[in-house]
Assembly symmetry: C2
Homo-oligomer: 275 residues x 2
């Protein structure tokens, strides 16, 4: 059982990843795909006259402020575009893909943040009306049924709040939560970088093996969106996932298979070996 | 087992229909929902600078010409918007809805029309590059698994071609194909009219009961999109569905339950009685 997270269409090459998934499925592996789509959501928001507003949290994470309209645009982009195009590509390769969002069947239950703390002009502020969530519960029954039937679930990063509201969730952390709940042997995070770099953006400083005990430290040199991946890796390992692999999704040849063979940054739970 | 088709957000009121679905599910009924979304797709196309182009077939059906870009806009609207909003509403009512499209797991296989015959300026023409399809095969396994688990599938009108291409399909006919394949006891088509009218738009000429043997004749007085519903009813009855109900989806109070109790136009297979 593998959980693989890929970005939206930007910077990550769907075709080779889908071919690798087809290969793994033919070998009898169970695979769950999770994808993003922020770039598509931002572009769609621009095209529809509701451009994204970016905010920075006191701990340095940058995110999109998600009012209800932004949420609906996000859903159109991730579910109606990225998810549909992925399912189409996988089906064309003979993979019995099933497109889902984390809302479906209550798969991902999240706590709505509602008000978020931001730093603006050097000052701390509270911003209300946000529709992003933090995943609190995974209801895996739906995925179990699909996997038993030989299907390949493809999950868009939406969740449902405890009050029944659609929420936007971080796709890396959603993948981590799913990997933990499913007891996956590995979580692969494909991204537009060769892995975790000690001195960003110098790709020669790739960290190829990292014991999970050193993730806290890694948080200090991870830059930008890589911080979210390190956080997701931490959550996955805490949830019992033995291996988290952060690898290059831009590769034309066998990006996913190469990651599984040892490429990228392997984050290993105590006592777990790498290839 | 019931298959219920509702339109997009235009002219049909989601809230009361979702409440009725919640009621039926609580009573232990299996329900599959199929929805449209043409109005949303048209509005999104306008907003994105790719407005829909309507064409008329020699037999008088009006449809949207679907080039690849129109198809992708259609997918965003029906799957990323209508489907997501329906699933959200159903979940908030405690219904374990699962949003799907007809592509998922090869649920609806369709033959791509590719070139369509149209009438333009009084002349017959062929228009190429169309991505609509005619459903040829329903692979019901995915729905069976979901229904067994107590889930309520909510299906967007997309299908996959034999060559692995995403296609737009007519939602009424998709609902008919699903009802036939699932052996549903009834197919309910909710629409922005009280049912089939003998003299459109005079609502006092509602036909409340129609033997399936008189569907051919009904084709002559059905106007506009109602023609597609009559065609869908024909296909459902030919596929073994005993009752097809065309009823008013605009009703504020119990639209679906009222339809099941006898409202609207009941189309009955030979030997089948109405309430």
């Amino acid at each position: 059982m593998l959980v693989v997270k890929l970005g939206g269409t930007e910077g990550v090459n769907f075709g080779p990843i889908c071919r690798d998934v087809a290969h793994l499925v033919q070998e009898g592996r169970s695979v769950v795909l999770v994808h993003g789509g922020s770039a598509e959501a931002n572009a769609l928001g621009e095209a529809l006259g509701h451009p994204p507003r970016f905010v920075t949290s006191p701990s340095g994470f940058t995110s999109r402020y998600t009012d209800r309209k932004t949420l609906e645009i996000f859903a159109m982009a991730v579910l109606g575009r990225v998810n549909a195009l992925l399912v189409e590509q996988l089906l064309a390769l003979g993979v019995p893909a099933v497109g889902l969002s984390g809302m479906d069947g209550g798969l991902l239950r999240a706590k709505r943040k509602g008000a978020i703390r931001i730093i603006e002009g050097g000052k701390r502020k509270m911003l209300r009306g946000d529709y992003t969530g933090k995943i609190e519960d995974v209801h895996r029954d739906l995925l179990d049924r699909l996997l038993e039937g030989g299907y390949v679930p493809v999950v868009a990063p939406l969740a449902i709040s405890h009050q029944g509201e659609m929420l936007n969730v971080d796709a890396d952390r959603a993948a981590a939560a799913l990997a933990a709940a499913l007891g996956a042997e590995a979580l692969v995070l494909l991204t537009a970088a060769p892995g975790l770099l000690e001195r960003f953006p110098d790709e020669s400083t790739l960290i190829s093996r990292l014991p999970a005990s050193r993730l806290e430290q890694a948080m200090q040199y991870a830059q930008g969106r890589m911080k979210k991946k390190v956080l997701a890796a931490q959550e996955a390992v805490q949830g019992g996932v033995a291996r988290v692999i952060i690898a290059d999704g831009r590769v034309e040849e066998r990006p996913l298979l190469r990651a599984l063979e040892g490429a990228g940054t392997w984050i290993l739970a105590p006592g777990v070996s790498s290839p």
